[in-house]
Symmetry: C2
Subunit: 212 residues, 2 copies
DNA sequence: CCCATTGAAAGACAAGCTGTCTCGCGAAAT
DNA sequence: ATTTCGCGAGACAGCTTGTCTTTCAATGGG
């Protein structure tokens, strides 16, 4: 009875399909937070199947979080980080980051509401952001562009690149995605960078006209 | 049968007591978000009594929110707002605001987690903050202290004085309440105020040493 | 002192949710 | 042909919110 090994490609493939169907069903119901039952019904799948595939309600949201991370829109962010000029890095990263938030907003709001059930998963994701910010702060420091200590720069960047800051401007103040990006960028530049040199003046200008 | 008017002071008084017992029972269980049943048991009260007094789970959290607002710690904030010097107003308001968040943190985290059920109640509370910020921005503008348009200043202040910004620094970056206040203040001053004049330099200094 | 009034307990009930488990079909792999 | 295994179907336990009815006991007007 416990003998034959199987390697069922087709079966695994269709399993992947049901997995996708379930996740897509979740996206469909956002930003309202659906019950496991509602997701299963929308996906045309038995509720027990959802538990079979994702383990629990929390597992379902965890998978959604990973899915969002993989789906990218991160290309722009990566490009900005790779730029040789640290100022372009700063500007491009904040802009790309904010636009990602703008696009994924429904998912992120739902995930935040479910934050209690997710615990570690969210932290793990945020860890990547922290690493990126430390890198950015180091680069700015190396080029002697910082007007504040490096760790303060990391703190401020952390606050400004979080989803909550974006959401406060977007929903709380009714700004567009690009207007929110402009406020965040202006705040970062004026707070972190040395002097309102010709460089600084230009930045301020460029962020102002987007927001106009 | 429908005749006599009653004016039962003692009864009304004991009703107020049960009301308080229930709210206190909630405070006891924070920051974990308790079920109505758990609150009732902790308060030594029937679950149906909670519904009798507060109407619903949402009503319970709504009452908690009002209770927090009334409990104050707002004296410092009011004093800062009344100061004739708009710069003192700015600094005092951010500091007092942040300290209030620090003190009420457990409640605010719980309320945020329950935000979906509260809807309007939170907005109403935030409305007051917005009004205060507009006033502050106007004062700064009148004294010609702003380096950015007034509406931009309101947006930035809104973002920096929200609970989320505080929480990002406090929990996300592990800062103390005063260190968080220093970051917020430095960000606000450098972003909003004209030139790093002698005035500006002094501010930067004072906020730096708190954070050290 | 009597008893209408009313705050509050007790608890039944409906409905929705998560999570677990069992049973059985039918398609895929060997 | 026979073994696996993905998945649907559904029962079950337990927790939750919310509603409603019944009962108890104190309060206070007359």
């Amino acid at each position: 009875m416990t003998s034959r090994r199987y390697e069922q490609r087709l079966r695994a493939q269709s399993a992947e399909q049901t997995r996708r169907r379930i996740l897509d069903a979740m996206y469909d119901q956002l930003p309202k937070i659906p019950s496991v039952d509602a997701v299963a019904r929308q996906a045309g799948v038995a509720r027990s199947t959802v538990y079979l595939v994702f383990g629990s309600r929390a597992g379902l949201f965890d998978a959604l979080l990973r899915d969002v991370s993989e789906r990218g829109g991160f290309a722009d962010l990566v490009r900005a980080v790779r730029d040789p000029d640290p100022l372009t890095h700063l500007r491009g990263a904040i802009l790309a980051n904010t636009r990602i938030y703008g696009r994924q907003r429904d998912v992120l709001v739902a995930l935040r509401a479910e934050a209690a059930a997710l615990e570690g998963a969210l932290e793990r994701t945020e860890q990547g952001r922290l690493g990126g910010l430390e890198h950015l702060a180091s680069r700015l420091a190396e080029h002697d562009l910082l007007a504040v200590p490096k760790d303060v720069a990391v703190d401020v960047l952390w606050m400004l690149t979080g989803f909550e800051a974006f959401e406060a401007l977007r929903t709380g103040r009714g700004l567009s995605v690009d207007a929110a990006a402009a406020r965040l960028l202006a705040t970062a530049e004026r707070t972190l960078l040395r002097v309102p040199s010709p460089e600084g003046a230009r930045n301020e200008q460029s962020s102002r006209d987007v927001s106009a």
